[in-house]
Amino acid sequence: MNEIRLTCPPRLDKESGSELFKRLRHEKVTEGQTLVLDFSETEFLDSLGGARLIEISDHLRRWGGQMRLENEHGDVAEFLKVITPALSVTSSIQPKEVEVLEKIGGTAITVGEEIWQFIDLCIDAIYWTVLGPLEGKGFRWGMLLDEMHEMGVRAIGIVCMMNFLLGLIIAMLSAKQVENYGVQILVADAMMIGFARELAAVMTAVVVAARTGAAIAAELATMKVQEEIDALRGMGLNVAQFLVAPKLLSLVLMLPCLWVLGLITSLSGGFVWGVFVLKFNFSVWYTETLNAAHFQDLLQGFLKTIAFAIAIALIGCHNGLRVTGGSRGVGLMTTRAVVMDIFVMICIDIVFATIFYYILG
């Protein structure tokens, strides 16, 4: 017996469809069998009833069976015609099984491609920032000023505020720690060393990464989504020259300036605590701070900000230009840019610490 016949109820809806399904389960369809659904009595079919039919056809397919409809008429026939495309495809789309090796390989290829794109962008950006203008190939100076204003001048407030507060907190906490030893004046030294080597640069760069890094990524990503990047390339303009180079140079110029401001305000934070709370003499604290300043520390902090600036600008541009998909892509890439910025900054930090204090001594 290669056919099983079932007569559909007069009204095929969610409940009666479920009944039909149960009857079918009793019949135990085996491979190669065909289920014939007789619609001669059916006068009514709603969308949930239709959905039951789709469920049934999926089950049959899993058991290796087939389904045929018969004697449909009137409105029911019209409706069945509309749902036929859904009946003829298996709904439970099985995601393609991906082997572990395949997965690893796929990821490696994606990561490799991304690294290659990033290197390409770096080379392009450095060319158009340094060599291009030297060879007289043009640089958008007007845009540079705009960017410097946006990235530098407008960030002064927040950078100073954050550094000042951090300075205050660090002074507060370290003074508490050394209270019992009576060497609270050393807090001034600790502030100078800590902020010059590490904290001012990192704090400033974190603020700028969150502010400017995100802005760069979002701006370029939106431009990509709105075909502005294509339009530029279509006019034969180089994206690295036109968009990336001004941002890169602007940040490389501005971040060290912000760092200087950040260092000064953070030290004043410590100063406020030392002079007004710990009641040290103004000049004593001042001299102690200056005595702790070493050229090597300051140089390290300064060079680090330049490395941070390059990283923030290029990572922002890279992620912005890689965007795919609409507004959601812009959001994803912006987030990614900031996370990558901060991660890469910490990596750069480790490299600098190792070079300056372990290799150079």
């Binding site: 075909e227 279509g234 034969g236």
Partner: protein, 258 residues
């Protein structure tokens, strides 16, 4: 250069292209005669915009040739490609105007980069080009202050800023009201007549096609299924083409055995 080359401004030979592993275009060939309005049609997602982006060198194909004025642009280095792109105007679907500058600066952008002109002359050219598209007094506005139709026209003004012999226009009338769309069609025809510009246009607005197309190419799932004039369309036997022009939906394929 032989006579054939003089008649053909851009030619595509056996273009094959993939996004990842999905094949988008399958051996597409076409030739655009000089001074015509060449319309590329096809259902959504059939590869029209992709084809256009290949024809201006924004994407590299998997294989095939694209000959612009007889020269293959596929193997070109960046510098040569940029030179070729300067002689093509591209008006994008979403206008592609840079949102960070005024409409006037947008039109002036290619002039400032390549035009080798002084600023007063640039301003004059900008006014003239914006005047051509009916936006003469809008130069000081930012793109987001314009309506959709105005933005498209401003995009067109930028595309023709350097007097290119060839202009690509992606979906000129999509999302415009009939009056605006019709106006844009007139504009395209005027520009072709006055400036002798060859247009390659991607669209699926039937009325617009009937009005402006000298030659029509239809793509379906990445292959060319029709290439001919509007009269050829009336006579064609190809079901898909007839369906497109008669605005018939895909019929449900009634499968009795599932």
């Amino acid at each position: 250069m032989n006579t054939k080359d003089n008649h053909t401004i851009i030619e595509v030979r056996d273009l094959v292209t993939h996004y990842g592993e999905t094949q988008i275009l399958d051996h597409v060939s076409l030739a655009v005669p000089r001074g015509t309005v060449y319309v590329i049609i096809g259902g959504s997602g059939c590869g029209k915009t992709t084809l256009l982006k290949h024809m201006c060198g924004l994407l590299k194909p998997s294989s095939g040739q694209i000959l612009y004025q007889g020269e293959d642009i596929v193997p070109m280095e960046e510098d040569d490609l940029a030179k070729m792109q300067r002689s093509i105007g591209i008006a994008f679907q979403t206008s592609g105007l840079l949102n960070s500058m005024t409409v006037g600066d947008n039109v002036a952008l290619p002039l400032r980069e390549y035009g080798n002109m002084d600023e007063p002359l640039i301003q004059a050219v900008v006014r003239m080009k914006l005047g051509l598209v009916g936006l003469a007094d809008m130069a000081h506005l930012m793109p987001d202050e314009l309506s959709g139709g105005m933005r498209k026209r401003a995009g067109l003004a930028r595309a023709i800023a350097l007097d290119p012999p060839l202009v690509y226009f992606d979906e000129p009338s999509a999302g415009l009201d009939p009056i605006m769309a019709c106006g844009l069609d007139e504009l395209i025809l005027d520009l072709r007549r006055m400036l002798g510009i060859t247009f390659v246009i991607v669209t699926h607005e039937l009325d617009s096609i009937r009005k402006i197309a000298d030659r029509i190419l239809m793509l379906d799932r990445g292959t060319v299924i029709f290439d001919g004039t509007m009269e050829d369309v009336e006579r064609t036997e190809t079901e898909r083409v007839r369906q497109f022009f008669e605005r018939r939906p895909d019929e449900y394929i009634v499968q009795r055995t599932i």
